[in-house]
Amino acid sequence: MTPIVFEHATKRYGGITAVDAVSLHIEEGEFCALLGPNGAGKTTCIKMLLDFTRPTSGNVFLDGLPSTAPPARSHVGYLCENFLIPPHLSARAYLKRAAALCGMSGASAARRIDFLLELVGMKDRCASPARTYSKGMVQRTGLAAALVNAPKILLLDEPVSGLDPIGIRDVRRVLEGLKPDRVTVLLSSHLLSEAEKVCTTAAIINRGKLALRESMENLLEKGGSLEDIFMQTVQAP
């Protein structure tokens, strides 16, 4: 079963086509970088997967189910762009909420939360309210919340935006740690160097259309860096 499937998915907002007949299959254990310039349709693709918005035409499947079915999100973790935490909540309280929504409670949830707080380096500040957190700390808490249910599919929209180099390295380390568990990751990012380091495949979207889909190895064998290939793809007429 392919965890993430787009079948001719199109999303129009009035006269504007944000996503244009995208067909994309992301296999189990694949770390796919979803790349593209601003407004290319990357976030809309992720929103369609989570049923935050519905395709105008075509189909989107998540974990083998239509993305509109709530059970499709049972084994999914998600970190959105410009992630926010209600300012009165601490990281621990926020993770408890995430665990409760995934049906986790009691000692197993507490153990998982402790493990994740340690993993993302938020153990020391886990009791402070989020209003006292830096952007990086909020982002780390968001990553922990995305991982709370030990997801099979992880959707990350700009996960390192606002992070300092140490934070970026930590996120990379966390993601690398998921590879042995065959977690499927769809990572939307503008940071091409990070995508190149973490991901095994890349999909470049330009003006709503899937312009390129290739393994990272093949792309880099063609010569140059991911940045060169990205620029060639998005600047092509």
Binding site: L50, S74, V76, L84, P86, R97
Partner: protein, 275 residues
Amino acid sequence: MKKISSVISIVRFTVADELHHKSFFALLAVCVLLIIALRGCYRSGYVVNGRRLDGIAVAWHTALAAYHAVAVFGLFAAMIFANRALRRDRDNGTARFILSRPVSRLHYCAGKVIGTWIIAFAFMFLLHAAVFFMTLTVGGGTLPLLPVASLACGINLAFIVCLFCLLSTALAEFASLAAGAAVVGVSFISDSIHAVVHSSVVQSALLPAGSPQTFTASWWRIAWPKVAALQYYGASLIKGEAFVTMGPIHPLANVAIYAVLLFAILVWRIEREEL
């Protein structure tokens, strides 16, 4: 079972988030102060035409006035809580956080509406309980059906919560507050005129003894949400008086039907909303 637990979780989040708002405690403090201020009314020795009024009767009427005042405070509180419940979730990322989990939008709406209703009802019921105990201890009288009347007003709060949650998805903050308040305001004007016209005092002054009451309300007044009428129905329970309904539908049924209808429209809207 999992579906119910997700609704319960959302109810808990909604209540906890509301309790972190300073305005909740500010509103509660103002209302408690007003109730405490009523203590003087219970204790005063009123003299009319040279005759001292019965203390228990004064306490009873004061408590009835307090019942109405608290019911109106409850409506205001429900308006404020409901107007920001969904808006706050959209603004601080909670809606995305919840709906990225295996939670349907129906359960999300149910959790938000129930949570907001619980906090608004608890707010009103606590104040009604304060009136009940003050009447008992300071006034020396009892209002055995005040809790039942408070429960009836709870149906009003369910309507208000559904109305303001729905309006908040379509209008800006102030506009939704104004539109919802207008709906409630019209209800109070229409139902209050009806209540006054059908009061025993007015009836005995206007109609010759034994002549039948005539009912001439226009259709829109009969169909309008009977928020105030339901509150007056609660008062009639306390007073032990008969209640004259406007039209064939009892205010309890009228408000309950509207609440269910508005909830259905809210779910329909949220199902189509983009996050």
